[in-house]
Subunit: 169 residues, 2 copies
């Protein structure tokens, strides 16, 4: 990914942190649009994970650039992840955006890990990459339900066989 | 999987429910052994997911066998998941057990989904299979950290570069 080679390490960390902030905001927005409590809790779990990643990256910044002020770029890896755009998106569309963003983040961290010369930095970046990959699969599993069974996310709770009225192909 | 063909549908559901109960208990036990709050929260998330699966399967049972009493077998899919065995296991050992169990459950549900003649039952079982697969990847990601960096799960909180003292090969 060219973004990681053309920029300084501190700029790359800034982009990563901004991206985690954006992702957490999208999950927060998505969770509020979902009435199914179990599903909503899963999305809140993802929001918390992205918040944890942000803290992790901020610590990494402080350790690598002591005394340097962290400047966040206006845009992260996923520029479409801003409330102007996401406000009017449907639940399935938000899932699609989030899945795409998780894939981008997975590749971004994997690429950074390869470039990192520091052992603990490399391990952390690989860990972040694997986590985003896990998020992608979690979202994909739920996305299949969301698109096949609209009642799934609109219902207060999930009832097998009652809400599961198949409308897909 | 022969277990699904030699038994009645109600017996199979009983085994699945018992297995989810056992898995939730192992996650509860594991979460208590972990001092790293972020990691412990992840394991609690998994416990809640298995509890949700249990409710889902119980609803499936009630719908398919109205008026029939749900009898749970003594052993589920993972007989080693009982406190007699797990009490003395280390954190990495518990991760290994949980990962193996998630793989078994993933295959079990996938197999049942294929055999199911009911569309909503099939969708639910596929969904369960995909969820267990997601759990496996979440555990695998954390397991790599747990085995490489023992300080990771023993620390109250996770500090990049400070706790990340590499001990692996």
């Amino acid at each position: 990914m060219s973004i990681a080679t053309d920029l300084s390490a501190s700029e790359v960390l800034g982009i990563a942190i901004k991206s985690e902030i954006d992702a957490a905001a999208v999950y927060d927005h998505l969770a509020k649009k979902i009435r199914n409590r179990a599903l909503s809790e899963k999305i809140i779990f993802l929001r918390k994970e992205e918040e944890q990643h942000r803290r992790l990256l901020e610590e990494m910044f402080t350790r690598n650039f002591p005394g340097v002020e962290l400047l966040l770029p206006e845009k992260g890896l996923h520029p479409e992840m801003n409330m102007e755009v996401t406000r009017n998106m449907t639940v399935p569309e938000l899932f699609e955006l989030a899945m795409e963003a998780e894939e981008t983040s997975r590749d971004f961290y994997a690429d950074l890990a390869e470039k990192s010369k520091d052992e603990s930095g490399r391990a952390t970046l690989r860990y972040l990459s694997n986590m985003e990959s896990g998020h992608y699969y979690l979202l994909k599993t739920e996305y299949e339900m969301v698109t096949q069974f609209p009642g799934y996310y609109e219902a207060d709770d999930f009832h097998v066989g009652m809400d599961l009225i198949h409308v897909g192909p």
